[in-house]
């Protein structure tokens, strides 16, 4: 563990100027010309939009055999949004990381192209089509991200609201459980309905508040752990060479564990439960440096999950479908492995280079545009495409970790690592589920899968990471990589 950093890490200006004087010469300092970063970002954005345009074009040529006018709203819409975002960044966060926005835009764009491709296969047009709705949700999500960027000019403000964030987070989590508001979709009660209920029980708009809760909880964890970490890390008994916490300090981890188990049991959502708990463990480990928390937490969670797999039919089904997916009984069972196996057939059929956009049959797989969009992408873009997408996610996460490494205040660093880890863990849970690394759960692939709540939440993460990176770089300082 590094030496205790000051809670508020902004170096007083006098110190900065002193150091500048002390070391003399600009060569020792990482002084950046702001425009350079934004120009790089603009270049990458043009590249991202061009790739998305090519993808939509290929989808139309492959699936329709002709270029169609609907090319323009998709590509033009995304280009416009990206440019607006870019211009605003030049004003309000000119030193922000130049890679985050292009990566998010590109992933979002490829997702829209694939959703549009599934629409074509399923003959959905106009407002019925998920592609257009995804485009609208992208616009909403990016506007929300802009608002976050404009309103939160200093991320440390968030630390003050950590307990409000906690209540908001838990409130959002529990919202779907309220009768009349919550909706059960495909077994999981993780949605809320907005607007009047139709006769068939569907609603005009459904939203997954758990997606937003993950951000609120990351803010809460960061704020809480920064203040509480001394008591969590320094006190405790040593046992087998590991210092275990005192019983009275176990409160928070037990509360989070209970919340995760509540989500698992009441909302029947294994993925979200795993995501929150994983996030908490990583953040508490980074804050305290104590492996004992991780061991304790994993023991609790695995114990809870094993108990749930014994007691809850749906969890047991998920495990059965994971371990013995190709068993014909499990394959044909309701809630069995049909979707998983068909997704694997699709990816294996794609091979190294894929069938080409618009030329495969990804729509055989249920939820090809949302939960299983990665299988659809694997089929049509091949292993090469999957690797490129995974690499983009890895790059995105690494930019988040970079903020955590380079940050000067512990709250910002914790928040950065938390937000980046949310993306990493979510990608792992989704793609790992589809490729049978872990049991399949109902999470969405960030930025790509069809679904508004996930888009809004992930674009807020983009905004927060941009804000954090801007703060990190906006203060000229000597490069200190301890």
């Amino acid at each position: 563990m590094s030496g205790p950093s000051p809670l508020v890490a902004t170096p007083p200006p006098t110190v900065g100027s002193e150091r500048r004087r002390l070391f003399g010469g600009a060569g020792r300092l990482r002084l950046r010309v702001p425009a350079k970063l934004r120009n790089l970002e603009l270049l990458l954005l043009i590249f991202a939009v061009a790739i998305m345009a090519a993808a939509v074009l290929l989808v139309q040529l492959g699936a329709l055999g002709a270029v169609d006018a609907s090319f323009f709203p998709f590509v033009g819409g995304l280009a416009l949004l990206a440019v607006v975002m870019h211009v605003v960044l030049r004003v309000v966060a000119s030193e922000a990381d130049p890679f985050i926005l292009p990566i998010a835009t590109l992933l979002n764009g490829i997702g829209i192209a694939m959703i549009y491709r599934i629409d074509i296969a399923q003959h959905r047009l106009g407002w019925q089509s998920s592609g257009i709705r995804q485009m609208v949700w992208t616009a909403i999500a990016m506007v929300v991200a802009l608002i976050v960027l404009v309103v939160i000019r200093n991320h440390r403000v968030l630390q003050r609201y950590r307990y409000i964030a906690m209540f908001v987070g838990i409130g959002l989590l529990l919202l779907p459980l309220i009768p009349g508001v919550g909706l059960q979709i495909n077994g999981a009660r993780a949605w809320i309905g907005i607007g009047a209920r139709r006769a068939d029980g569907t609603v005009p708009l459904s939203f997954q508040p758990g997606e937003l809760a993950k951000i609120a909880l990351a803010v809460f964890f960061a704020g809480y752990l920064v203040t509480a970490r001394d008591s969590l890390s320094l006190v405790g008994r040593r046992f087998l060479g590991i210092r275990f916490p005192r019983v009275r300090d176990l409160g928070p981890i037990l509360v989070i564990w209970l919340a995760a188990m509540a989500v698992l049991v009441l909302q029947r959502d294994l993925g979200i439960s795993l995501l929150y708990f994983g996030l908490f463990l990583v953040m508490i480990y980074v804050a305290t440096g104590r492996l004992s928390w991780v061991i304790l937490g994993m023991t609790l969670f695995v114990g809870g999950a094993v108990a749930a797999s014994q007691l809850l039919g749906y969890v047991a089904n998920r495990f059965g479908a994971w371990l013995d997916a190709f068993n014909n009984d499990i394959y044909h069972r309701v809630g069995g492995s049909y979707q998983l196996v068909q997704g694997i057939f699709g990816m294996s059929g794609g091979g190294l280079t894929g069938s080409g956009l618009g030329l495969g049959s990804p729509n055989i797989v249920p939820f090809a545009a949302s939960d299983f969009i990665v299988a659809s992408l694997g089929e049509e873009l091949g292993l090469t495409g999957l690797f490129a997408i995974l690499a983009l996610f890895l790059l995105f996460v690494s930019r988040g970790f970079r903020i955590a490494f380079a940050g000067q205040d512990d709250f910002g660093r914790l928040l950065g690592v938390g937000l980046a880890f949310i993306i990493a863990l979510q990608v792992f849970i989704v793609i790992g589920g589809i490729t049978r690394v872990i049991p399949l759960t109902g999470l969405t692939t960030p930025f790509m899968a069809a679904g508004g709540s996930s888009l809004v939440a992930n674009w807020i993460i983009v905004a927060l990471l941009l804000r954090l990176s801007d703060t990190v770089r906006a203060q000229p300082r000597i490069v200190v990589e301890s």
Binding site: Y285, L352, V417, F421, F428
Partner: protein
Amino acid sequence: MNKELRRVSVVVLLMFVALFASSTVITVFQSDNLRVDARNTRTLYSSYLAERGPILVNGVAVAQSTSSADRYRFQRVYSKPELYSAVTGYFTLNQGNSGIEGALNDYLSGTTNSQFLNKLNSIITGQDPKGASVELTINPAAQQAAWDALGANTGAVVAINPKTGKILAMISKTAYDPNLLAVHKSSTVIAAYKELVQSKDRPLLNRAIAGDLYAPGSVFKLVVASAAIDSGKYTAESLFPNPPTLTLPQSTSVISNSEGGTCSGTPQVSIATALRLSCNIPFAQLGLALGQETISRYATAFGFGQPLHVPQTVTPSKFPTGLNPPTLMLSSFGQASVRVTPLQIAMVSAAIANHGRLMQPTLIESITSPNLTIIQPFQETVLNDPISAATAATMTSLMISNVTSGAASNARINGVDVAGKTGTAENDESPNSLRTLWFTGFAPASDPEVAVAVVIENGNGFGNAIAAPIAKKVIEAVLNK
């Protein structure tokens, strides 16, 4: 804090490495196993992505794939669906294929090993994959003539070139439209198939080669007479008693000649006369005298009981074993339990026409790859030599007189020697029972170009009245008369 961050980074990296590894395992290492999984419908879809080769008659496609807007990309279209339904068969979406479509599916879809290099080549050159085209031996004029002549009758016509074995015409009625089964919606295909299967006309049966087998009636006398002469035990002039009726041994059943009375008005007749006038009683006695084993040996030599592919599978014709004397006597003039396909009867005529040499019948003229190299050229194959050339010559002269001055008079063609034999098998014992009507023969007798067999199911009257004129039309079409 940085130490923890570094450790977490490593964990994140490992998580991604696991994803890289798992996706590689699926797309690279398991893909062969996954592709052959029966539940993998993508394998099926991709097989429809190649353009299926056409089936050609005289260079004109009777079945071909045209581009379609749906995900299968190609639609199978039959240009003269009913006329060629007995030949082409049908091609469906995963509901089975029949006829040439079924028997040559690997060639038509381009998946045989001999087409592997073509496939590789098309991948490299970027051409769309294509299946091989199949040229048939069918003579379109003969096919059309047989279709027209058969008219509204239920039955079948087969014409063969006796020298080469090429099948010149193959009609089975009632026919069906294979386009109905080529649509790309499984439920529609299944509904159409069900309707065809349940139809009382049973149009999906290829009566020429694989329907219910027929009792051959008097056309089987050709086999018995050939056996009698070729075995050396008798000549065409050997005499047999010719009573108007005969009570079968060990039974009370009485057999008679087809038109009652004595066949020629004489107490004894030669084999030649008995064949010419199609007398039943002398042949019953000849069969009994020859013995089951001899008849069976010759029947087998003509192809009875032998597996045959043209290339679609032909149901073997049956000359039963273990017959008691009365059944053997009935069988000797094509009643009782002898059962044949029209193709088998045409093969008997063809062997007699070709100096006793039986050629392998086939529908395939050639198979050509999309880049115009011939994958499988036509090859004559000798199937067997059931009788000697001398016996064949004797049989030919007997069959000629059968047409010129005998029971098969309606097959006469001006200026052409036609050799022929009629048959009329009773479907049951009642006096007004429906009959299976036959004609088989070949022409020109001196230098045969076509051997033909015609069968009419559930007909009224005699083979000479109904079946022989149909055969005549087909022969005329082949001889361009």
